[in-house]
């Protein structure tokens, strides 16, 4: 008799466990049973059910505060404009998709892994989120937001992540795709420019341990060596440091022709100034992370003759729609010129997403909408030959949707940002596809 309470406890726990598992099975069954079609029933990650009159909830996970807010806000504006254009006009009121409004859930990824974790978790916890436009920074996606979203079967579609690892065989997460260029291409064009146009034989690189800078320097180094160049040293810095002179002095010992340091604004302007002092004869190159009005202001004369690589937006600026409709609408609705280059990539990503929703969503008899998650992902990944603002969009199996990428090299101070000298056209420009580069 004494053992009886224990038995009761065990029996109760076992019973509860059975009930719980039964319930969860019921839930799963209920979900798929709710959708009236076979597609929905088969979807591993379930479907999003949107009742009649309810909006389609799209998340955004971009950096919208802090030092890098200009980058994320610009993308967010591009995405919002895509919803505006659903009715075929930029009139400031959103159009409808399959008879439903679009509702945005904006989260901030702070351009850090922690921010990607927090924002990604918040969005993935909301079952009504159909897909997410984001992230801005590779560090917020890589191993963080891309994994969180893929575990829940929510598509994460980035307008500005460029780190190669995100779409590499080893690290790609099944629900991650991007319309931004892969930095394997940008790194290769940097190496090509250094080799062929600068006649460099020796290259030194500096990264700051962030995925963006590591991806770029690694890609540049590999392609530079493939072109029979020598990489003297691949250094790393802590981006919060201020005194890079000891490091630069030691890099100068290797006597490089070109120093490639694609770090962010604060460290970049310091490196430009200190390098101008320590190695005046070395050509300095950097990338779009450094391309900012702040660098121009802070580094002063030191930006003269500094070559930055960046997506060559003059290619799509020539487009009629872009310059005559998109940009005027952007300026009217947000009261500023675009603050970064990725608004067009965000506009494209959002439109590809809308097209995919139209393809796979099931309109039920009661006016509700069922969007199966895996089918949505598959539809986005199957995008081929879509004509976007940024060019032709064709997604690969690993989620790279910008296949032919044009990268320009801009000589300081003629950079295409506020405060840059005119003409702000690139001194060199090349288009490559992922198959062309290492």
């Amino acid at each position: 008799m004494k053992r009886r309470p224990w038995l009761t406890v065990i029996a109760t726990v076992a019973a509860l466990a059975l009930v719980a598992s039964a319930c969860s099975n019921d839930d799963g069954g209920g979900d798929s049973g709710g959708g009236d079609t076979e597609t929905a029933a088969a979807d591993e990650f379930g479907t999003v059910e949107i009742a009649e009159g309810e909006p389609i909830n799209i998340g955004s996970l971009l950096v919208i505060s802090g030092a890098d807010a200009a980058l994320g806000q610009d993308s967010q504006n591009g995405a919002v404009l895509a919803a505006d254009y659903l009715d075929g006009t930029f009139d400031g009121t959103d159009g409808q998709l399959l008879g439903h409004d679009i509702q945005w859930s904006h989260e901030d990824e702070l351009c850090t892994a922690e921010g990607g974790q927090a924002g990604g978790t918040a969005l993935s916890a909301d079952p009504s989120i159909v897909a997410v436009i984001g992230t801005s920074c590779s560090s917020a996606a890589l191993g963080v937001a891309d994994t969180i979203m893929s575990e829940k079967g929510i598509l994460l579609f980035s307008p500005s992540n460029t780190n190669p690892a995100l779409t590499s065989e080893e690290a790609h997460q099944p629900f991650y795709a991007r319309t931004a260029h892969n930095d394997r291409i940008q790194g290769a064009i940097v190496a090509e420019y250094a080799l062929n146009e600068q006649g460099a034989t020796k290259l030194a690189t500096i990264h700051d341990e962030s995925p963006y800078t590591q991806g770029l320097t690694a890609a540049a180094a590999v392609n530079f060596e493939a072109g029979d160049g020598t990489v003297t040293v691949q250094e790393q810095i802590n981006s919060e440091d201020t005194d890079f002179k000891p490091l630069l002095r030691s890099i100068a010992e290797g006597d490089p022709d070109v120093l490639y340091a694609p770090v962010f604004v604060a460290a970049c302007s310091l490196i430009l100034k200190q390098a101008a002092e320590i190695m005046p004869d070395v050509t300095i190159m950097a990338s779009d992370g450094c391309m900012s009005s702040d660098t121009l202001k802070n580094a002063g004369d030191a930006v003269d003759g500094v070559f930055l690589s960046s997506p060559d937006i003059s290619v799509f600026q020539e487009g009629e729609f872009y310059s005559n409709e998109f940009i005027p609408a952007y300026e009217e609705q947000f009261g500023t010129e675009p603050t970064s280059v990725f608004h067009a990539h965000a506009f494209d990503a959002t439109n590809v997403l809308f097209d995919a929703i139209e393809q796979v969503a099931v309109e039920n008899d009661d006016g509700s909408l069922s969007i199966p998650r895996t089918a949505l992902r598959d539809a986005v990944f199957a995008t081929s030959g879509y004509e976007g603002l940024t060019g032709i969009i064709t997604c690969t199996e690993l989620g790279d949707c910008a296949t032919d990428v044009t990268i320009g090299i801009f000589e300081g101070p003629n950079w295409p940002v506020e405060g840059g000298a005119k003409p702000d056209t690139p001194v060199y420009s090349d288009t490559k596809s992922l198959d062309d580069v290492l």
């Binding site: 802090g66 030092a67 691949q234 250094e235 790393q236 810095i237 802590n238 919060e240 440091d241 201020t242 005194d243 002179k245 000891p246 490091l247 002095r249 030691s250 010992e253 604004v265 604060a266 302007s269 310091l270 100034k273 002092e277 702040d294 202001k297 802070n298 580094a299 002063g300």
Partner: protein, 366 residues
Amino acid sequence: MSSSGSARTVDARLSGFATLPWRRIILVVLGATIAFVAVAGAYKTLTLPEGERYSGDFWIDQIVNGLGQGAILALIALGYTLVYGILRMINFAHGEVFMAGAFISFFFADAYLKSGFLDSNTYLALLILLVVSIAGSTLVAILLERIAYRPLRNAPRLVPLITAIGASLFIANAFRGFFGPQPYGYPLPTLLQGSIGIFGISVARVQLLVFVTAIVAMVALQLFVNRSRTGRSMRAVAEDSEIASLMGINVDRIVVITFIVGGILAGIAGLLFALTFQQVQFTMGFKPGIAAFTAAVLGGIGSIGGAALGGFVLGVLQAVGPPLLLTGFGIPSPFSLKDAFVFLVLILVLVFRPGGLLGSGEAEKV
């Protein structure tokens, strides 16, 4: 030999074993190992084959740069050491005191650059910038003492420590709130650009200015503390504040003066830092603050000479240590390990000299 006899021998051996000065032996072995590794690393670095080896100019440039950095660190470290000497507390917000001076003087420097005053009257402009920077840092230091520390004067020691960390975050984020998170480019007068040769060594003009100003400031501080009446009161309060107050010294006034002196030195350091790196940002106080605190501990916290020495030693170690000791072992990117290297040196110094290089360990002086 009987068994009891052998047991006694073992006992005797054991007791002899236990009475050996183990602490000393471990220290000597540790010291010898580290010295051997350091010498081996340096030897390997210096005997690398031609072409891989650093040039002689490389080492001279690193030492000159290290001394320039060290001068700034020393000025900040003095602020830590002064406050510690008087109040026995670590003023973790001192890095932000330093940042405040540099940041506030930026707005004047920027205006002077735009009006052309910076280049037409460089000496006068620099003097005004120095006064502004000192005023900014001193004001923050006074407010800090009055608002954050004085109400907690008699609280347990951990309380003001946590307050100091809070104050540090508050000040940094207040600047972020007022002026934004972006870095600002600090103008350098034309007069200070370029470098000049001293004994055949090329030294950047701005580094020479940093070095001379820092030395003058340190000598002035030494004279103030040792020769002036207030300085004597400061030393008395550092020795024993209770007895000093019985002798008619106004302890509150001396504490404020100590913060003012620390603020003045931080203001000078702020301007010199801004001129050296030509960039100010709200986060700029954190890293130099930690480095200067390290320098103060390295030299012996509470000791003025120690803080100055610690600053210079740290500055040179950061520039010379990593390439000298790590390159020979084939460690890539030695400079990215400079913080780890500096803290390793700090730990070693504290193992062998717990009071720091010039500290006596027991009786801290101001």
